[in-house]
Symmetry: C2
Subunit: 734 residues, 2 copies
């Protein structure tokens, strides 16, 4: 049975796979594709564009079009890219023309000469990945996807740039535009995602490549700008890229000296190259990024030859290249050129075409990527068939990583508990889940930001993933929470079957919040294992004690905030996290021991909220006590007390508000009947948001101040998170 392109195309990643009507109609083994991977030299250097590379920065006003030769076609293609960007921004009267105009040469070389992809199947597994970390320059990428004949960016899409529900939003969005790998815009995220993509490649290559068949083998290319370079998350991720020796990560630093506030000199005078060398990168400088095509090509060749280090290619460009009055200034960064300057730029670059026009020879030249891409995929499919014959088990596993299909009965591996099981911290129970899951889920891997022994996240069967041990599955992120988060998004978006988890103390989600939000927006299934989830961590004090964090994530779209109370709920939380393929999950876990409560359930976690005990009838308890995580025990004990005094009491676990809100009204009414106003909630965190749940007559017990350094028991008592407080509040209500 052939491995069809469709089944291996990661189509599950796409909201829009119905658009890919041509998927599966590949050419089979067209003769121009050799059976081995074309080397860089055979693919680019045989063409030897004779454009002369000048080592000095080219002034915008002095652009000359060379004679009609091959090199003219390159220039023409590059100018097509520039003007598609100019025209789209102009039509939208909004957007960022400067970067596409400056980086068009890099974009052209990458998409036309270097990268291996199949435009008619953007999800082909073994494609080279491209990330525009400077996401505001997205018209560069849309122009390239358009020229390369991706169905996602057709002519009408360019013309609806930045309009309601278009395929060409104001920043690249992976969930809107097939061909866009990750969602960028917030600076530094893209390069960090790219580190994750490159790490995923290195990891999978180490696990699945065989001496005779290299089945995983692609590059990850990035363009990042001065803004990305200033961001701390970039330094974190790039330090790890150097540490891991990600030789197939090639990043172009668009060194144009301009950021929104003007010349970068006003805030950015460090020596970027030296910093990257310190981080363990290979660094190359292309001094003329405006017309130095051969230099760009040579740099890529050199970068590929360096196999044990990632490469930063600093490319000095002119922002807004070609605009006679705005190039090399911040005024071209983030707004339309204006009709007059567009005209002047057209004249300056000898561009006589109407807006959005793609010259026929340029179109023809780029169209070859359709058969070429199909052939590349077909070639790889053939290779996969051979692989499947020789390495049946490995092939089946790899296939599951590519499609995202979960093994049958995978969830049966999750541990379950009874109320007699010994009390334990949910962070420890989480470790049991992690170590069970990794046995059945080949794409499960992850680690902590230097807190593995506190977060309890080590996978005991595996060693540390390192430069020379890329096949291992324990990731050691160091104290780099933000980089960790963004890297995991990259891993998750590399292949549907990869399930990264990452860990730190819950309070330090503050460091990685931007990455978590982008994972949510990007529909990336990352599992955040967040331990020490309350004042229950005790003596480390208020800098380490989360208060507002549960509320802050409950308010964030498309992320599941789960706070399991014991072993069964922890297992249930993992089950939910893995089944929710299009959103990340945050698990808030305790440092302190918790009992396994009667009535908790693995499966009911998926309901978000459910009854763990009740002695009422007719859905009319005197009072409903609601808890989450470590405070569910307090609610349960208070329930016992109140029942002794003759009350009818329901105790509810509200393990995930988002999931509960998604249930049908009848179910919600069965758990929290509108007619019961006597409601008391308890949670060791902000009461913000609980008002809606307990209602105007109910009482929310929580913490609306910072915590305190002291033993945990003392803090709970002093801050009033006690059984007595719940009992007292309940009695006042019924």
């Amino acid at each position: 049975m052939a491995a069809s392109a469709f089944s291996l195309s990661q189509s599950l990643l796409s909201r829009s796979n119905q658009c890919n009507s041509s998927i599966g109609t590949n050419l089979d083994g067209a003769s121009f594709v050799s059976s081995t991977r074309p080397s860089f030299s055979s693919r680019t250097c045989t063409r030897r564009w004779s454009v002369k590379s000048s080592r000095s920065a080219v002034k915008a006003a002095a652009v000359k079009i060379p004679e009609e030769t091959d090199e003219t076609l390159v220039e023409k293609s590059v100018n097509t890219i520039r003007f598609l960007a100019i025209d789209a921004v102009e039509k939208a009267n909004s957007g960022h023309p400067g970067l596409p105009m400056g980086c068009a040469p890099i974009g052209h070389v990458l998409y036309d000469e270097v990268m291996r992809y199949n435009p008619k199947n953007p999800y082909w597994f073994n494609r080279d990945r491209f990330v525009l970390s400077a996401g505001h320059g997205c018209m560069l990428q849309y122009a390239l996807l358009h020229l390369a004949a991706f169905d996602s960016v057709k002519d009408e899409d360019l013309k609806s740039f930045r309009q309601w529900r278009s395929k060409t939003p104001g920043h690249p969005e992976n969930f809107e535009t097939p061909g866009v790998e990750v969602t960028t815009g917030p600076l530094g995220q893209g390069i960090a995602n790219a580190v994750g993509l490159a790490l995923a490649e290195k990891h999978l290559a180490a696990r699945y490549n065989k001496p005779d068949i290299e089945i995983v083998d692609h590059y990850t290319y990035v363009i990042l700008g001065d803004g990305c370079q200033m961001e701390g998350v970039t330094n974190e991720a790039c330090s790890l890229a150097g540490h891991w020796g990600l030789g197939k990560l090639i990043a172009f630093y668009d060194d144009n000296h301009i950021s929104i506030d003007g010349n970068t000199e006003i805030a950015f005078t460090e020596t970027v190259e030296a910093r990257y060398e310190a981080l363990g990168w290979h660094v190359i400088w292309v001094k003329n990024g405006n017309t130095g095509y051969d230099d760009i090509r040579a740099a890529i060749k050199e970068a590929k030859a360096v196999k044990d280090k990632p490469t930063l290619i600093k490319v000095t460009t002119t922002i807004g290249y070609g605009s006679p009055n705005k190039a090399n200034s911040h005024s071209v960064h983030g707004s339309a050129l204006g009709a007059k300057e567009v005209d002047a730029t057209r004249k300056n670059l000898w561009w006589q075409h109407d807006p959005f026009h793609v010259p026929a020879d340029v179109r023809k030249h780029w169209n070859r990527h359709v058969p070429q891409g199909a052939a590349l995929e077909a070639e790889w499919n053939a290779k996969f068939m051979e692989y499947e014959k020789k390495y049946r088990e490995a092939a089946a596993e790899l296939r599951s990583l590519i499609t995202g299909e979960l093994p049958d009965r995978w969830d049966k591996t999750l541990p379950s508990y009874t109320s007699e099981s010994p009390a334990d911290a949910t962070r420890n129970l989480s470790q049991q889940c992690l170590n069970s899951l990794v046995k059945v889920l080949p794409g499960f891997l992850g680690g902590s930001a230097d807190l593995a022994s506190s977060n309890m996240t080590l996978l005991k069967m595996f060693g540390n993933l390192g430069k020379d041990t890329p096949e291992e599955r324990n990731l050691r992120f160091g104290v780099r929470e933000h980089g960790m988060g963004a890297i995991c998004t990259g891993i998750a978006l590399h292949s549907p079957g990869l399930i990264p988890y990452c860990a730190t103390f819950f309070v330090f989600t503050d460091y990685m919040r931007a990455a978590i939000r982008l994972a949510a927006l990007s529909e990336a299934r990352v599992i955040y294992v967040m331990t020490h989830d309350s004042i229950g961590l005790g003596e480390d004090g208020p800098t380490h004690q989360p208060i507002e964090h549960l509320a802050s994530f409950r308010a964030m779209p498309n992320v599941l905030m789960l706070r399991p109370a014991d072993g069964n709920e922890t297992a249930g939380a993992y089950k939910v996290a893995i089944l929710n393929k299009k959103r990340p999950s945050i698990l808030a876990l305790s440092r302190q021991k918790l009992p396994h409560l009667p009535g908790t359930s693995i499966d009911l976690v998926a309901r978000g909220g459910y009854i763990i005990s009740d002695n009422s009838s007719s859905n009319k308890p005197d009072v409903i006590l609601i808890g989450t995580g470590s405070e569910l025990e307090i609610a349960a004990k208070a329930g016992d007390e109140l029942r002794k005094e003759g009350k009818s009491v329901r105790v509810v676990s509200l393990v995930s508000w988002e999931l509960f809100n998604e249930q049908c009204d009848a179910y919600k009414e069965s758990v929290l009947p509108a007619g019961v106003a006597g409601r008391v909630s308890i949670e060791a965190g902000s009461t913000f948001g609980w008002g809606k749940i307990v209602g105007p007559k109910g009482k929310a017990i929580g913490i609306d101040q910072f915590g305190v350094s002291a033993p945990a028991g003392r803090i709970y008592k002093e801050l009033g998170l006690t059984v007595e407080a719940v009992v007292q509040a309940a009695k006042a209500l019924c």
Copy 2:
């Protein structure tokens, strides 16, 4: 009139100033204090401890105590520090002994030989600042404060380490322990705060020093560890420190090769020194930090000689130095040594004393800091008197920065508006406030993370604060939101009269959330100018559109979240932000134009919520419409519509939930009477939290999904944030 120590002691900073009973009782000009600042050489090198410095790492098991000489006293002092840390952690059975044991020599040299401070007045303005960025090692700082006779850390405080409401919490907290400058623990924050402290010194020195009187002149010292070095915020802040040439910032990098997960080799293999050189720092390596006192002293001398660059002194130490079985391992990082190992360490270091014992000669040696510190302050006070005579105006201004006193009628400078004033974006109205305030508030300074022209934060009267223009007041942070936030906390905590503001797009608070939280915890008055506060920013799309951010900050303790609706409310928000000296404020401001609404008020912003229009009587409107920021206009228009149809309608601006919650019940009832269940809210953000305000029968109109890239008007319409929607919801309720 003499400048009393009290009035210049920044006592407003302290929660605990009633403890400083000895403030104002300084010795006057004791003879051993020279009239000029003691140079490093006269203060340390004349003593010339003859401890031999070994360039190889000292093995823990082979520690020998030298003969009784001066050097013995240093060793004894250093071991006193070590054992105070060991004993306190042991008694608490919780804490981090490893760093204090390894860094005791640095700590000793700094606090006993180098730093200039007055232990009886921790708020003396011209003191050297010390920041323990590796805050978990706080017992180092507590031991030093104790030896130096700070009243904040007495014997009983050491014995109540990490206990309820002690002065010695689990991480250093400026609001609990006088002598602690900033609150640290979350890694990287301290070094970034220190950049702010050093920047404040350089700025004030440039503004107030005169050719004949150097009235501002102190160093900022930091200890940071491997963990801090990995954090991105550290790189951001240190890049700026290099850019600004902060020559009086001296950071000790505790290079002990151990982090929680073990040897740093598993995640951290970059070349830190080379990175700092790339960032523009001077770098020194002290290879034997365990006993190389002279090397430490020489490094500090060298660092002070480099005046145009900050210095990183990499000090190679042994974590847990002295513990025969746990030194140089992660097991000594974060838990008590245990009785057996404490005994072994006592033997190994020849320490025969009981727990918490300070040998008499060590005590005597350190006690000299009491008169010496008093003399330093008295000397400075005398200098200030002279300064005041010669430079009356500058002295008055500087005095106000030191005390935090605001000028009379400062708030009268704020602009006010009528409903006839031209519509404008609140970001522009904010700029009017900033430029008005800077004229009357000498401590007002700030800037943006490379979005000055979008955030509208430029101070037109001033230039850019740069390496050679430190007197200017426009800060250019580059694209470094996290570093920006933490630096501003440092500026705010330097002097009570400094009022830093910083700016980016509201959504990018995600990048700096950890810094904002620490500002809130630290009671630092930072003003966050956060523009582009909703989907109203339009085409940039969901990566740039805040949704959950308002809710997420409303849930955070001790921070004011303000969302002004127009000019008067923007001015009112600034007034509130400046008057709230013990908490930071976040201003969410619009990109789009907004009308000036009838009924808004500068002064009523302080109430958090108030009525802008009402045609009801007896506090019983048919319906209450509640809005914030840009949506207050929609609520007001809907009110007009409904009134036309005969309804009695109240329109309420809920500009700050925190402030409204702090009002008395009667006021709250007068705005949102319990008896009125017909309530509709509208806000272009998550409805999370609104349930409590609109009540079970009310309706909260908002956005509980990510935004979309499109023109703003289209998004408002498509997502249902319209006058019609409010009218419809209101009609359904009344």
